[in-house]
């Protein structure tokens, strides 16, 4: 297979949402054929420029996946499968991209706040952001406020994402904003919040930078913030 063919196959499998060879794709009949992980490994072995892999093999097909989702041809599981493909590929490509002097779109620290164990929405956002090229540092669920503040202090991420599903735990987000202010970190990080009980109004009330109703809005918001 030529380098070009491998890239085309990576792109095809991202659209199909096949991380590994054992995965079935959106269409039937691909199980057993190499998935994104195997193909990226092959591309790296053949010394394909990692930037080409990212642009032609991952970014462009993810745009197609987004369009398919917009047309309701794809549902959330299809979108996540493709995002996971990109995430898995980025894990393999990161060291090579650093060597080539290519940076990620930025570090994104994400977590569900203290007292709240709900993490499905947060996980979907984390997978999608990784698939969109961000370096995601996921602290998990029920994360104490002090740990979040310490992480921001240590990692210096440009973005912090906070999630809560309960009306009782969403208030913790306000404590986190105050903690960031107190520690002199507020201006170093953009804070995005989300979760069923939260709203634009609540984001304004606690002084967060944005409220995102889902992963897609988070990606759009980040794009706008970095434009």
């Amino acid at each position: 297979m030529s380098k070009k063919e491998v890239i085309e196959k990576i792109a095809f499998n991202v659209i199909q949402g096949r991380v590994e060879s054992e995965d079935e794709g959106f269409d039937e009949g691909f199980q057993g054929q190499p998935g994104v992980v195997e193909l990226v490994e092959e591309a790296l072995k053949e010394e394909t420029d990692p930037r080409t892999i990212v642009i032609d093999g991952l970014t462009k097909p993810m745009e197609i996946v987004g369009e398919k989702f917009e047309r309701e041809e794809y549902l959330i599981p299809d979108m996540l499968a493709s995002a996971e493909c990109v995430g898995a590929a980025m894990d393999l490509l990161s060291p090579h991209l650093i060597k080539s002097g290519v940076e990620s779109k930025g570090k994104f620290v994400i977590c569900t706040v203290a007292g709240d164990l709900h993490d499905i929405g947060k996980n979907i956002v984390a997978i999608m952001l990784k698939g969109a090229g961000y370096e995601v540092l996921d602290l998990g669920a029920d994360v104490p406020t002090t740990r979040i503040i310490e992480t921001v202090k240590k990692e210096r991420p440009p973005f912090l994402g906070l999630s809560a599903l309960l009306t009782t735990t969403m208030r913790i987000m306000g404590d986190i904003m105050e903690g960031l202010e107190r520690e002199g970190l507020r201006n170093t990080v953009k804070v995005l919040i989300g979760g069923a009980p939260t709203s634009q109004g609540f984001a304004r009330q606690i002084g967060a930078d944005a409220h995102c109703k889902d992963a897609f809005e988070a990606i759009h918001t980040l794009k706008a913030m970095t434009a």
């Binding site: 079935e24 599981p77 299809d78 996971e84």
Partner: protein, 510 residues
Amino acid sequence: MEAFRQGVVVRPYERLNAEQLTWLDQASMAILEDPGIWCYNERAAMLFKSHGARVWEEPGGHGCWRISCPAGLIREAVGQAPSRFVLGARRPENRLLLDAEIPRVYFGSGSEANVWLETHLDKYIRAEDGTTERLIPHYTERRGNTALLSRAAKLCEFLEHLDFFIRPLNIQDPEITPDNHDVNKFFASLNNITKHVQAGLTTLEALPHVIRMAELIVGGREALIQNPIVSFIACVFKSPMQIVEDTADKVFAVVEAGLPLVISSSPQGGSSAPIQEAGMVAQIHAEILAGIAMTQMIKPGAPVLYGSVPVRARLDDLHDLYGCPEFNQYNIDCVQLARFYKIPCYSTAGVGDAKVPGIQATFEKLLTHLFMAMSGAQYIHYAFGLLDRTNTFCPVQAILDNEQIGKVKHTLREPKVTPDTLEDMVGMVRKVMATPHRLFARHARKAMHAGDISSPFRFESKAMEDKVIAHALSHFDEIENKPAPRLDPSVVDAIYESIPGLLPGLRQGR
């Protein structure tokens, strides 16, 4: 058989235990012996007599014979009815496989409503602010006619969860007379739908014409017997316990023609039968068994359905009350009794008192759609579009019923729980637990693509306004714009050449 509609095979819900079934059957036999049957058809009375029943003419010379049937006679005759047969269709994949020993559930339309209910959306402006607009459904009634029946048949062709077609609308065009009623209603149906078509007969004289029409469509007499694209309904019993003269003649004719027949009875608990479950079911079972026995005495092995339509009276006006618990109780018992005798069951669901689509209609329909599908009745009629009991057919309601029945069928699908699927699932859990986010969403795809995962309610509203009717109406408009699956023009020509009484406009579906 190569192809047939899949319906849904359920694990039947049963109300009666084995002992109660036997007691009910014995009670029915006791009723058939004493007081027996009041029979207003001499040929039928003599048929029973020739098979060993005690028959005598009622005094007064009113043409009424009393029949006292011993249990052995009924059981022996009914035992000859086939457990399994096919109801044909213009398209082979639309045929139905009825097997009394397999609870494969099919849903279809029914009744012969006089009214077609048209749905419109009227724009209203909120008085308080003068700007907020809302579209509110508004309904107008039209008299049923051949053009509307044609539209109903075409609509039903495109309702994916409708398995068979019983004309839901009475045709009342000025040119329609008792003599040409049957040929026009069968032609309007057969020219617009490729699923099985079933109806009652208005006149016995029309039967040869209807059979000829069906033969011309399938390619001859033998082809029709192999693929009976039409079948018939006969309410041979007028409850309580009376065999009707002209319907009995129709039973003779249909059975002798070799086509499938529903022996249907519809007593009303509280007026023409006891309202109590035990009494209602004992009586209707007696009536249906006697009707089925009659078919087998005419021709052993005749394909026949156990047609149970027991209803309850409203106690405020003695009209039928369909969407109530007793309806389900009566009907589930009948399904069990049909299964006890290994005869496919024609049952009923989806009727209510609601006059227009909405919350009441949804409640009444779901209450019976779900329970009757759970009972494992093979052939559930009345299930699409009926409102105001059985007096109105509303196409938008039929579209809503299609959605509801689809969800009911999906709910009752056989569980896919096998050692193989469980091995896959354990592997999936292990795989996902090894990932950072422990999210199963990606692994939903296989089930999603296999059609195992249902879609959200098709006509849902996303905002704070109920738009179900508006969405259903727009879906109806989409179907109306599709071409009808018309018969081949040469077949239509042949039908018009050999069958009298067909309305000229119907040829073009008008």
